[in-house]
C-alpha cells in the first residue's frame, strides 16, 4: 500500500496564456503533503497554481485531482481552498460573513456557521475585527481572514500564492506558525508558490523550482542545495546564496 494516497497529479501539462507558456509540467502530490514551487517573478508560479485549481483548460497534458481532470470538475465541487496574493476578500461583506461564506454556500445551519466562525476567529486571533469590512483591515489581518475563510470548509487541498510576501517578517512568521498548526489538525495538503527561500524551506516537505514556465525538478527540502539542477535552477539558487 502506498504511504499516501495521491491527491494531485500533473502529467505533461502545457498552457499558453498570451506570450507566456507553462511547459510540460509533471509532478504529484500526496494527501497531507506540503509542496512548494519556488521561482523568480514571472516564472509562471501563479499561473501554475491557478492551473492546479483548474481555472484553465490545458493545451496539452492534464492535471488530475482525486483522479479526475480538475478543470472538468464544477468549480463549486472541487473542495480546494485558494489564497490569492492580494487575499481577494469580498468587499461587500464583513469579516464574519467572509469567513462564514463557504459554510453558507454549503447550506450549513446558522448555529453551525456561528460556532465555526468563532472557532476560526479565535484560532487566528481576529475576534475583535469580525464586524469590520475588509477595506478597514491591515495586510496581516486580511491575510488571517482569508486563511480562515479558505480553511473553514476543511478543503482537501490548500493553494497559497506568495502567502507571506506582503507581510513584515514578524507577522509572516506568526501567521505561518498558525497555518502549520492548523494544517496538521485539518490534515489538508498544501501547494504554495513563493520566491522566498526561507518560506519554502520552513513550510514545505518538497520543493520544486520553476523557471521560465518550466518545472526544473522537485526534491525533498533537505536536498535543495545538494541536488543536481539544470542551469536555470542552479542560477536561481546561486543568486539566492550570494544575497
Amino acid at each position: 500500500m502506498a504511504e499516501r494516497e495521491e491527491l494531485v497529479r500533473a502529467e505533461g501539462f502545457c498552457l499558453r496564456r498570451g506570450a507566456f507558456e507553462l511547459k510540460d509540467v509533471s509532478f504529484s502530490l500526496g494527501e497531507d503533503e506540503v509542496l512548494c514551487f519556488l521561482g523568480k517573478t514571472g516564472a509562471g508560479k501563479t499561473l501554475l497554481l491557478e492551473s492546479i485549481a483548474g481555472f484553465y483548460r490545458p493545451d496539452a497534458g492534464h492535471i488530475s485531482y482525486r483522479g479526475a481532470e480538475v478543470s472538468h470538475i464544477p468549480l463549486h465541487r472541487r473542495n480546494i481552498g485558494y489564497l490569492y496574493q492580494d487575499y481577494s476578500l469580498f468587499p461587500n461583506m464583513t469579516v464574519r460573513a467572509n469567513i462564514g461564506y463557504g459554510l453558507r454556500m454549503l447550506r450549513r445551519s446558522r448555529e453551525e456557521i456561528r460556532a465555526a466562525v468563532a472557532e476560526m476567529a479565535e484560532w487566528f486571533e481576529i475576534e475583535r475585527i469580525l464586524d469590520q469590512h475588509p477595506g478597514t483591515l491591515s495586510g496581516g489581518e486580511q491575510q488571517r481572514v482569508a486563511l480562515a475563510r479558505a480553511l473553514i470548509t476543511r478543503p482537501s487541498l490548500l493553494l497559497l500564492d506568495e502567502p507571506f510576501s506582503a507581510l513584515d517578517p514578524k507577522t509572516g512568521q506568526k501567521i505561518s506558525e498558525k497555518l502549520r498548526e492548523l494544517r496538521r489538525e485539518l490534515r489538508c495538503a498544501v501547494i504554495f508558490v513563493t520566491h522566498n527561500f526561507r518560506e519554502a524551506s520552513e513550510l514545505s516537505q518538497r520543493i520544486g523550482i520553476l523557471a521560465e514556465g518550466k518545472l526544473q525538478g522537485i526534491v525533498p527540502k533537505d536536498e535543495l542545495y545538494s541536488s543536481p539542477w539544470p542551469p536555470e535552477a542552479a542560477a536561481l539558487l546561486g543568486i539566492e546564496e550570494k544575497t
Binding site: A53, F55, P74, L75, H76, R77, R78, I80, G81, Y82, Y84, D86, S88, F90, P91, N92, Y101, G102, M105, L106, H133, G135, R149, A150, T153, P155
Partner: protein
Amino acid sequence: MSSPNKQPKRRPGPFLICCLLLALLTLLFVGGNLFIIIFRGLKSLPASLGQAETLFAVGLSVRSACISTLLCFLLALPTAWLLTRPELPMRGAVEVILELTMSLPYIVLGLSLLILFSSPFGKALKAAGFPVVFSRNGIILAQLMVNLPFAIKLCVTALRGVDGKLERVAGLLGASPGRRFFTVLLPCCRNSLISAVILVWARALGEFGATLMLVGVTRMKTETLPGSIYLNVSTNDLNAALASAFILLLLTAVSLVVDAVFRRLGRGRSRYG
C-alpha cells in the same frame, strides 16, 4: 515688498486663448439651449400643468420608462453575465450585433419593429390581447429596443469591473454560478448598476424616434413627453411644448442628482462600482 518666491505672471499663449474662446462658444451653444428651456418653459409650466394632456404625457412617460427599464435590466443582466464568460463561443459576433444596433438611428429600429409587429406574428399577438402597433405596449417595446444594447453594454462594463478572482474564490468556497452572481458579483457592482438603471431610465423617458415609428403620437392615447413636444410644436403651441421640455429636463436632472447621491454613498463603502 516683493517676496523672493514671487514669479512674474505668465501671459496666456495663443493656443490657450483659442481653446478658451472655443470652450466659451461651446458653453454658450449648449447652455443657451438649457437657458431657453428653463426660462421659457418655467413661465409656461403653471398653465400647462393644469392641462390634462400634459399630466397624461408625464404619467405615461414615467410609467412606460419604469416598465421598460425594469424589462431592460431583466434581459440585459443575464446577457451581460454570459458576455463576460471567457468560455462563451461567438462572443465577438454578439458584441458586434449589439454595437451595430446601438449605432443605428432609432427611427430605423422603430421601422424594423413596425415591420415585425405588423407581420402575422404581431397580428397573432394582437388577437391574443397584446397589441403593439399604435398601442401603449409599443411605447414600452420601442424604449426597450432602443435601450437594450446600451443597457447590456453598461452591465458588461459593470460586471467586468469586478475582480474575477472574487468570483473564483467564491466558487472554490462552494458557491454555484447563480449564487456567485447574487452574493458576490451583483453586490460588488451595485453602484455601477444603479447608475446604469438611472441612465437607461432617463434615456427611455426621452425616447422618441422608435416610438414615433411604431405607435405614432395620438393625443391622450400614445402621447409621451417627447411626443407632447412634437404635437404642441405641430399645432404651433410653443409655450406648451416648452413646458413639456422643462418637465423632461427636470426629470432628467432629478435622475442625475439621484445617481450622484448613490455614487457618493457607494464611494465610502466599496472599492468597486
